[in-house]
C-alpha cells in the first residue's frame, strides 16, 4: 500500500516544524521582531506551478508595512489522497482541491466549518477549469462532440472515476450531455455511458497518467481531459494533437478553504484567510489565467478570451444537485458507475 506518502510527508513536516520552531525561538530571543509565519497549502496535482507563482506574489503583497514575508509549504497529489492525508493528520492550513466533495470529506471530521463554501466569493471557487476533448493531429476520426465517442472503432482515454477527480468531471459531463440529447431519459443516458466505456481500453488512476497514455504511448483516438492540462501540454509539447471544444462541458470548480482547527493551532487564521481572499485579486486572477485556469473574474476572463473560448457549461450544484448527491448516485460503491463497469467489463 502507498499510504506511506502521507505519513512520510507528516514526518517531514514534523521535522521541518521542529527545525522552524527552533529557528523561530532563536530569532525571537535574538531581536524580538515578529516571526515570519508559515502556511501549508495542501492542493491537487496540476496546481503546483500556479501556486509556486502565487505564493511569491502574495508574499510580496503581504510583507508591506514591516511585516515579515510568510513562507509557504506546498503539498500536491491526487485530490482524494490529499483529503485523506489531512483527515489522517496532515496539518494543512489551507486546502485547494479538485472537488468540493474532497473538502466536504475533511469538513465531515470537524476540522473546518461545514458551510466552508459560503465563506469566500463565488462558492469558494477562485479559478476553475472545464473539460474538453483532445484528438490526434488533423482529427482523423472526425470527432466533434460527445456523441462521436461511442462510435464503433473510436478508442477513448479517460482515467478511472474511482481514483481520479478529473475522471468524475469527465463522466458527469458525458452523462449530462447524454441526458440532454435524450430529453432527460436516464436509461438512454446510462446506455450511452455503457457504450462510451466499452470504447475505453485503459483506465489510468489519474489525469496525468491518462495524458501520458494518450500522448506518449499513442493509445486511443480521443482523450477527455482538463482544459488546463490540454492547454499546458499544447504549450509545452507543441501540437501533436488538436483540441476539440464539444457543444457542452462542465464548470470543473476547484474550491479553496482554510482549515479552521489547524489554522487556529498554528496561529495562521488571519494569514490563511488573506491568502485565499488574495486569489480573487485581479493580479492573482491574471496569474491563474497564465497558468491555464479559467479566472472567475469576468473582466480578466474577457481579456483572455482567445485562450478560453466561451462554452456552455453544466454546473455541479444546479445540474447534479451538488457533490453529495452526485457522488451517491454515480460513484459510491454499487452506484451507477459500478453498475456500468459490471455490465461492460465483466462479460
Amino acid at each position: 500500500m502507498k499510504n506511506s506518502d502521507a505519513s512520510r510527508r507528516q514526518f517531514l513536516k514534523t521535522v521541518t516544524g521542529a527545525a522552524l520552531m527552533t529557528g523561530t525561538v532563536t530569532a525571537l530571543s535574538a531581536c524580538g521582531k515578529p516571526a515570519a509565519q508559515s502556511l501549508l497549502n495542501v492542493s491537487f496535482d496540476p496546481t503546483r506551478e500556479f501556486y509556486a507563482a502565487y505564493n511569491s506574489l502574495f508574499a510580496k503583497k503581504y510583507a508591506t508595512g514591516g511585516k515579515p514575508a510568510p513562507t509557504f509549504n506546498q503539498s500536491h497529489g491526487g485530490s482524494g489522497k490529499q483529503a485523506r492525508a489531512v483527515v489522517d493528520g496532515l496539518k494543512a492550513d489551507v486546502l485547494s482541491l479538485a472537488l468540493a466533495h474532497d473538502i466536504d470529506a475533511v469538513a465531515a471530521t470537524g476540522l473546518l466549518a461545514a458551510d466552508w463554501a459560503s465563506r469566500l466569493p463565488n462558492n469558494s471557487v477562485a479559478y476553475n477549469s472545464t473539460i474538453l476533448l483532445l484528438v490526434r493531429k488533423g482529427n482523423p476520426k472526425g470527432i466533434k462532440d460527445w456523441g462521436d465517442l461511442v462510435k464503433p472503432g473510436v478508442q477513448v482515454i479517460t482515467p478511472n472515476p474511482k481514483t481520479s477527480g478529473a475522471a468524475r468531471w469527465n463522466y458527469l459531463v458525458a452523462y449530462g450531455w447524454a441526458l440532454r440529447a435524450n430529453n432527460g431519459d436516464e436509461a438512454k443516458a446510462q446506455a450511452y455511458l455503457e457504450a462510451l466505456f466499452k470504447n475505453v481500453p485503459v483506465l489510468d488512476t489519474g489525469a496525468r497518467g491518462a495524458t501520458t497514455t494518450f500522448i506518449q504511448r499513442g493509445q486511443g483516438d480521443v482523450l477527455i481531459n482538463w482544459e488546463s492540462e490540454a492547454l499546458m501540454s499544447a504549450a509545452k509539447d507543441g501540437a501533436q494533437f488538436d483540441i476539440v471544444y464539444p457543444s457542452l462541458s462542465i464548470a470543473a470548480d476547484t474550491p479553496v478553504a482554510w482549515v479552521d482547527k489547524n489554522a487556529a493551532a498554528n496561529g495562521t487564521e488571519a494569514l490563511a484567510k488573506a491568502y485565499l481572499e488574495g486569489l480573487y485579486d485581479e493580479d492573482a486572477q491574471t496569474l491563474a489565467a497564465q497558468h491555464f485556469y479559467r479566472p472567475t473574474n469576468a473582466d480578466v476572463l474577457k481579456s483572455f478570451a482567445d485562450r478560453f473560448p466561451a462554452i456552455e457549461q453544466l454546473n455541479i450544484d444546479k445540474d447534479f444537485g451538488g457533490w453529495t448527491t452526485a457522488n451517491a448516485r454515480h460513484f459510491e460503491q454499487g452506484a451507477l458507475f459500478d453498475q456500468i463497469s459490471a455490465k461492460v467489463f465483466k462479460a
Binding site: 500500500m1 474511482k162 481514483t163 506518449q216 504511448r217 465483466k346
Partner: protein, 308 residues
Amino acid sequence: MTTDTPISAGDARLETNGRSPHQIKPEGFKPPKATHRTQHVLPGFHASLGITLTYLSLIVLLPLVALVLRPWEAGLDGFIRTVTDVRVVKALQLSFTTAFWAAVVNLFAGLIVAWVLTRYEFPGKKIIDAIVDLPFALPTAVAGVSLSSLYAPNGWVGSLFDPMGIKIAYTPIGIFIALVFIGLPFVVRSVQPVLAEFDAEVEEAALTLGATPMQTAIRVILPSLAPALITGFSLAFARAVGEYGSVIFIAGNMPYISEISPLLIVIKLEEFDYAGAASVAIAMLALSFTILLATNFVQVLLSRRGRA
C-alpha cells in the same frame, strides 16, 4: 523463517544482503545451540529479546493489528459481502495467479542467472551482478512507466507483437511482466550464496562415480539448492502479490479484467470506505500467509530430505 545460527563463511555475505535464505552447513559441523543461559557475543538474551519484540511490534505487529481491527466497523456480513464481491474475487484471482506465474518464471530464470554469476568468469560480470539488484532500488513507479513505454503497442518490444494481435501492455500479460521484473532479484540472491558455497568435490565425486551431467544436476546439485530456491520463490511471490506502483502503469486497470487487488484497496480508500479496503487487505494477507506457510512446510521437508 526458522534457520539456525549463521556460521559458515558464506553467511557473512548473506547477512549483509539483509535477507535470510537457507544456510548450508559444512558436513559434520554443528553450530553451538545458544539457549537463554548461554553467554553470547551480542548483548544478553533478555536485552536482545526485548529489542526483537519491541521492534517487531512497532514495525509489523501493531500495524497489522490495526488492519485486522478495521473491517469490523461494517460488521461480519460487511466483511463477507466485500470479499465475496465478484469484482474483489476477480482482482484477488488476478493478483495471486499472475504473482504465482511470475514467481515460477523467476524461479527458473533466477536459477540460471545465479548459475552464470557463480560458475563462470567473464568480462562485465561485476556489472551484471549489480544489475540484478536494480529492481530493488528503482522506484516501482519508474519501473512501471519504463516497462509500459517498452511494451506499449508503439513501444520497442510492444510494436513487434502488435502486428500479431498480441497486446502486452494494458492486459494481464503486462501485469505479469511487471511482476517478473520486481521479483527477479529474490531468487538470484537466495540461490547465489548457496551455489557459491557448494562443494565442487561433491560434484566431481558424482561425475567420477559415473553420473551423467544431467544426473549430477538433478540428483546432486538441485536437492541442495531446493530450500534456497523455495525461499527465493516465496519471497518473489509475496512481493509480487502486494506490488502496486509498477503494475498500475502497465495494467490497464479495467475492472474484472486487469484490476489488481492492491488497486481495489486504493479505490476503496478513495471512496473513504476504510472498512472495505481493510477487508480486501485482510483477504490478501490471509491468502499470502497460507501460501507462505505451505511453502515453508515444503522447504522444511526438502531440507530434511537433503540432510538425510
